[in-house]
């Protein structure tokens, strides 16, 4: 279904299009005159624009204003009876077709059908293109695909991770990364500094699961990035090698944490960990911080100390080990409290908020108008 804006000051013309062009897969929207149309273009970009106005001066005025918007959408001009030179002038100004009304019904229908049949973007990307994420920021990629009104799937690779961002005529409509919610998946992928991307154009009308427009998505991603950077900055001694504590009881640790903590067994810095295994999830950076605070991850000196302590215990006889355990239970300072993790992550309420849909209302001018109308009503 092609979306077409009918710009005309008369609703009857719009009605004529709707009745005469019944059956063609085109949806018409009457946007009113050019003043109103300018507002409408800010909200939505159609596939076609029909200008229908009898007065030629007005037609040229509207076309000049339309050109200023730099939308590059194909448009058709509908005039009253027009001489050849007048038509030529409109063709030169970029009109796909100029049609004088009234026209023969059948002829009119055939002309419109043929024009609308042509593909929307003839200069669109038809082939695959690829690149490295270190050279192009994801937001810039989205912006350029939006400008080109591209339809297709942008696939991002980061280590073992693979995510997709799906575009419908330049608008981001869906994102996939493991089992994460579409918006969160997009926000996570926006944090990827390394890896590669590839874009494959298609002509499928993808189902929209992200209902925000691209501008709102940028804002959400920016907010997320600030939080993520804050969480990364809060990690102490990022450049120093950490080890998993040998005293850690692996059964007390959650399955996902177990996977990540295993990477630290041979020693790894938090920065390298985020580079190599980071998926961009805010909680991952927060957890790293919590693990260090709780003593699950420790520095080299503490690691050596704990290893020595363990070896000493191993060398002792069985009975003395049991005595040591029983009588030193209260004094044992090296033990790890597994409840601590919950406390530290619970402090940050923002991470919970991430899973809720954001509030994006901005039309306060309408609320003011409503309140003013209601006040007048009271009087």
């Amino acid at each position: 279904m092609r979306e077409t804006f009918v710009i005309s000051d008369r609703e009857s013309i719009y009605r004529m299009f709707v009745t005469e062009l019944k059956g063609i897969p085109v949806h018409f929207t009457w946007v009113g005159d050019m003043d109103r149309a300018e507002e409408a273009f800010k909200r939505e970009k159609p596939d076609f624009v029909f200008f229908a106005v009898r007065d030629k001066k007005r037609m040229h005025n509207w076309l000049a204003r339309y050109k200023k918007l730099q939308l590059k959408l194909p448009f058709i001009c509908f005039l009253g009876h027009a001489q050849w030179d007048e038509r030529e002038l409109l063709w030169m100004s970029g009109a796909t077709e100029v049609i004088g009304l009234p026209a023969l019904r059948k002829e009119f229908r055939i002309i419109i059908e043929n024009i609308l049949k042509r593909p929307v973007s003839q200069n669109g990307i038809t082939q695959k293109f690829e690149g490295a994420l270190s050279k192009y920021a994801l937001m810039d990629l989205i912006q350029s695909l939006e400008d080109g009104r591209q339809n297709g799937v942008l696939t991002l690779y980061n280590g073992d991770l693979k995510g997709d961002i799906i575009f419908n005529k330049g608008a981001v409509v869906h994102a996939r990364l493991e089992d994460f919610e579409p918006l969160l998946a997009l926000q996570m992928m926006a944090q990827w500094q390394n890896g590669s991307f590839s874009f494959e154009a298609d002509k499928i009308n993808h189902k929209a699961t992200i209902k925000l427009n691209n501008q709102q998505i940028y804002r959400e991603c920016q907010k997320y990035q600030q939080k993520y950077e804050k969480a990364v900055a809060a990690i102490p001694d990022k450049e120093i090698v950490f080890y998993t504590s040998p005293l850690l009881d692996w059964e007390q640790v959650g399955p996902q944490a177990r996977v990540y903590l295993r990477y630290f067994k041979e020693g790894l810095t938090p920065v390298d960990f985020l580079d190599q295994y980071g998926n961009g999830l805010l909680r991952q950076a927060e957890n790293l911080n919590a693990w260090i605070k709780n003593g699950w991850l420790i520095k080299r000196s503490a690691f050596n100390r704990q290893m020595a302590q363990l070896e000493e215990e191993q060398n002792r006889g069985g009975m003395s080990r049991i005595f040591q355990r029983v009588f030193n239970r209260q004094k044992n300072t090296g033990a790890i409290d597994y409840n601590l993790e919950l406390k530290t992550t619970g402090e940050n309420e923002d991470s919970d908020l991430l899973y809720r849909r954001p509030w994006v209302f901005h039309l306060w001018e309408r609320v003011d108008r409503f309140n003013a109308l209601m006040e007048n009503d009271d009087e």
């Binding site: 109103r36 908020l353 899973y355 809720r356 954001p358 509030w359 108008r369 409503f370 109308l373 006040e375």
Partner: protein, 159 residues
């Protein structure tokens, strides 16, 4: 083409539909799968659309309103028994809502029920904003809705 303000409304009984219709000066409500749609033509170029949810179903609410709720100025929760035990279905809706959306909520409830307010520890972390209704009628709603919007606006300016 009129400007529109869309306000989803969660109500604890079907009677609210009649009061919202009275408030909007219309006797029509379009029925959809998950909600009822009432149009209130406020001015020559401004309409308010109410989306009334009086039968709670997580899936349909998410499917039908998840695009509208983030773009709404606020969400109205209408209950005859605010916080009390009789209001369990509405409280369930509220808890579901809080865990999925961030659009601010205003409660509309009759004045006399404000006194029997009872805050449960489960799931409610803060006292929500509410606007008392002088009576259960369309007239009272007509006064309360601008107050609710004003409340949210002031809260934002304060933040």
């Amino acid at each position: 083409m009129n400007d529109i303000l869309e306000i989803p409304v969660f109500a604890d009984s079907q009677s609210w539909e009649a009061w919202f219709r009275e408030c909007s000066g219309t006797d029509q409500a379009q029925s959809y799968h998950a909600f009822k749609h009432i149009t209130w033509p406020v001015g020559p170029d401004l309409d308010i659309y109410f989306y009334l949810v009086d039968h709670f179903n997580e899936h349909t609410v998410k499917e039908a309103l998840s695009a509208i709720i983030p773009c709404a100025p606020c969400i109205l929760f209408c209950g005859n028994h605010l916080y009390s035990r009789e209001a369990r279905p509405l409280n369930n809706m509220y808890r579901f809502y809080l865990s999925h959306f961030r659009t601010p909520v205003v409660w509309l409830t009759p004045e006399e029920f404000l006194e029997e307010k009872e805050i449960h520890a489960d799931g409610q972390t803060e006292e929500p904003d509410y606007v008392p209704l002088t009576e259960l009628s369309g007239r009272a709603l007509k006064k309360a809705i601008p107050q609710a919007l004003e409340l949210i606006k002031q809260k934002i300016q304060k933040d």
